[in-house]
């Protein structure tokens, strides 16, 4: 399935390059990457055509339409996921797609049966990936490992991922400390759904995230807080990609936060 999504994404990228008469840009692996991340958001039992359609939407609507890598105003995989979720909700519902399994999807349980139903889950097991969820997004521990490796290699800047996780933990933690019988613990929120995938791979995507230290941190905090808010007050069990899309909307505003340039007096700085 991941292969089909990637193939579809790369094929669309090649097509767009051909139509625009630009040099082929697939060798930078970006189309492959966003196709793969999109596939990781799909439920494991999704039909093959959903992967192909989603991969195409991710590249065409998510990126090519706006001018390609770096110019997209929204996180491309999150956009592909959102389009598929709205168009084919029955196939995108993780809980329904995997209803035949003996264990339940933790976030759906939380949404419809409340905190009282969470006794069946062990947070440590959830974190290690022993849970029902989207194909790749539910492997929290593996995603953290990958993110930490990218950060240690200097590929990924730590500001957005860490701020994102802090945003989720703080917002969920505030609710939890108010009433632990009504709200789930921050550990539960961090280790379920696509939080880790969003923190390390969707939110830090270069195009739709702001530049600069403070804007990056604010962006991560806001996106993280939105995850918890959507899960607690929204209609979707897991709102993490939606939270990233909403935070993407704020990027132009956050990019307006600029420090005073060197040697420019404050009153003279517009």
């Amino acid at each position: 399935m991941a292969g089909m999504a990637c193939a579809s994404a790369v094929a669309c990228e090649a097509l767009v390059c051909r139509i625009r008469r630009q040099p082929l840009s697939i060798e930078n692996w970006n189309a492959f990457y966003i196709g793969l991340i999109f596939a990781m958001l799909l439920p494991a039992g999704a039909p093959w055509w959903l992967a192909i359609a989603g991969g195409a939407v991710t590249v065409l609507l998510g990126q090519a339409l706006f001018g390609g890598l770096g110019s997209n105003p929204f996180s491309a995989p999150a956009l592909g996921w959102a389009v598929c979720l709205v168009c084919w909700p029955q196939f995108m519902d993780v809980d329904m797609a995997l209803a035949s399994l003996p264990i339940n999807e933790p976030l759906t349980q939380l949404k419809y049966f409340g905190v009282g139903s969470l006794w069946q889950f062990d947070t440590m097991q959830l974190f290690l990936g022993n849970q029902v969820g989207a194909a790749g997004a539910s492997q929290a521990a593996a995603l953290v490992l990958g993110g930490v490796w990218l950060m240690s290699r200097g590929v990924l800047r730590p500001f957005i991922p860490l701020a994102f996780l802090v945003g989720v933990a703080v917002t969920a933690g505030i609710h939890w400390s108010i009433d632990p019988t009504q709200y789930a613990s921050p550990w539960f929120h961090l280790s379920t759904g696509s939080v880790m995938l969003c923190a390390f791979f969707l939110a830090p995507e270069s195009g739709p995230s702001p530049c600069g230290r403070l804007p990056m941190i604010l962006f991560g905090l806001l996106a993280g807080a939105m995850v918890a808010v959507i899960r607690i007050y929204g209609v979707y069990p897991d709102g993490a990609p939606f939270a990233v899309l909403l935070a993407n909307l704020l990027t132009p505003l956050l990019d307006r936060i600029r420090p005073r340039p060197f040697g420019v007096l404050r009153r003279n700085h517009a």
Binding site: L69, C211, G212, F262
Partner: protein
């Protein structure tokens, strides 16, 4: 990328090596107004050309001989016999102010910053990674530097005099030494002035590099126009006549060059490439770097990917990504509103850009479009 790439410390060479005088010297006179014609006989130290900006020093003959060719960029001198020597100027006897500045100007020294000030800062940090000339001068040419410093102090009359250096082991007479962490871009003039004064816009403060003090000390001792420069090449430090063709210097230093390599003058970060191995070394050049063909991936005409690396590395706290995009599309006024004038042209945005965009070129282009006349001044390393 390892962070010690930007360290400004390196082993010093045993001593500064003299490059022999070449038969033919090429003095760069781009932007100058000529005072001599082709075929004229010139004496060492004689004025050759004057710059339209009054604070920029004259271009003087580095050697006696005959002007063998002359075009818009180079004046070539074929070395010949010495005739009547040019009358030396005794700078000590000149009164500080107009008179002294005129004397220095006639000896080829730019005098834009020689004016009274309360604080005098000497930039003793090696200017750029892999360049060791500042510490080599402080160690081996302390006498000449002290001589230059004495004259500069007379002209500037400072209350306080500070030497900024990478270690506390360097001293200059009458100066307190302030240690500045020897990591690029701390060696850039605005960063040094900030480190010493604590202010980004220091009042009544002037800064000089040790290279400049060495030049001033040199003309003070000889009474003759500046005709030599000292520079780093491949880990060693050399002294050569101004106008010595780079190919002669490279041959003398046994540095090989191959097709596709780049010759970069005045530092790998802020310097400029020359297109001709016959290019004569200029008086403010402090390093010659041979950048191998495949050392860095080539710059490309690619769009910005908005990753923010340039923003995170900019010492002037700018948004180079925006400035470069404005410059790319000819919106120079918008680039200025983004703080273009605060740019120190450190080159870090070009270094870090993962999209390989020519950031520094875009910024330089915007500056040149906004202030066309300032591009002509032969600027050196700090001040």
């Amino acid at each position: 990328m390892k962070s010690n790439v930007f360290s400004l410390r390196a082993e010093l060479a045993d001593s500064i090596v003299d490059v022999p005088v070449s038969n033919s010297l090429h003095v760069f006179i781009g932007g100058y107004e000529m005072l001599v014609k082709k075929g004229a006989k010139v004496q060492r130290g004689q004025a050759l050309a004057v710059h339209p900006r009054p604070d920029v020093g004259l271009a003087n003959a580095p050697v006696s001989g005959k002007v063998s060719s002359l075009d818009f960029a180079y004046l070539s001198i074929k070395a010949g016999k010495d005739g009547d020597p040019v009358e030396p100027i005794d700078l000590e006897s000149l009164a500080p102010g107009e008179e002294l500045n005129q004397g220095l100007h006639d000896l080829g020294i730019s005098v834009g910053r020689i004016r009274e000030a309360e604080t005098l800062v000497i930039n003793g940090l090696n200017p750029q990674p892999s360049v060791t000339i500042a510490e080599q001068l402080l160690r081996d040419e302390a006498e000449t530097i002290s001589l230059g410093l004495s004259l500069v102090r007379k002209a500037i009359n400072p209350k306080r005099c500070v030497l900024a250096a990478g270690t506390g082991s360097y001293r200059l007479e009458g100066c307190t030494t302030q240690v500045v962490k020897p990591v690029y871009p701390n060696s850039l003039p605005p960063m040094v002035l900030k480190a010493v004064t604590g202010k980004e816009v220091p009042e009544s403060t002037v800064g000089f590099s040790v290279h400049k003090l060495w030049q001033i000390g040199h003309v003070l001792r000889t009474g003759r126009a500046i005709d030599e420069t000292v520079f780093t090449l491949n880990g060693g430090n050399y002294r050569a006549r101004i106008g010595t063709p780079l190919v002669d210097i490279l041959d003398f230093a046994n540095v090989e060059i191959h097709p596709g390599d780049r010759l970069v003058l005045s530092g790998p970060m802020t310097g400029y490439s020359v297109f001709n191995v016959e290019h004569g070394i200029e008086k403010n050049v402090f390093s010659v770097n041979v950048v191998p063909k495949n050392a860095y991936p080539p710059m490309e005409d690619r769009p910005c990917i908005n990753c923010g690396e340039c923003v995170l590395h900019c010492p002037a706290r700018l948004q180079p990504n925006l400035i470069a995009r404005y410059a790319e599309y000819g919106m120079f006024e918008r680039a200025r509103e983004c703080g273009l004038d605060a740019c120190m042209e450190c080159g870090l945005c070009s270094y870090w850009c993962p999209a390989l965009r020519p950031m520094q070129h875009y910024i330089g282009f915007a500056k040149q479009q906004l202030h066309p006349q300032s591009g002509n001044a032969p600027t050196g390393w700090m001040h």
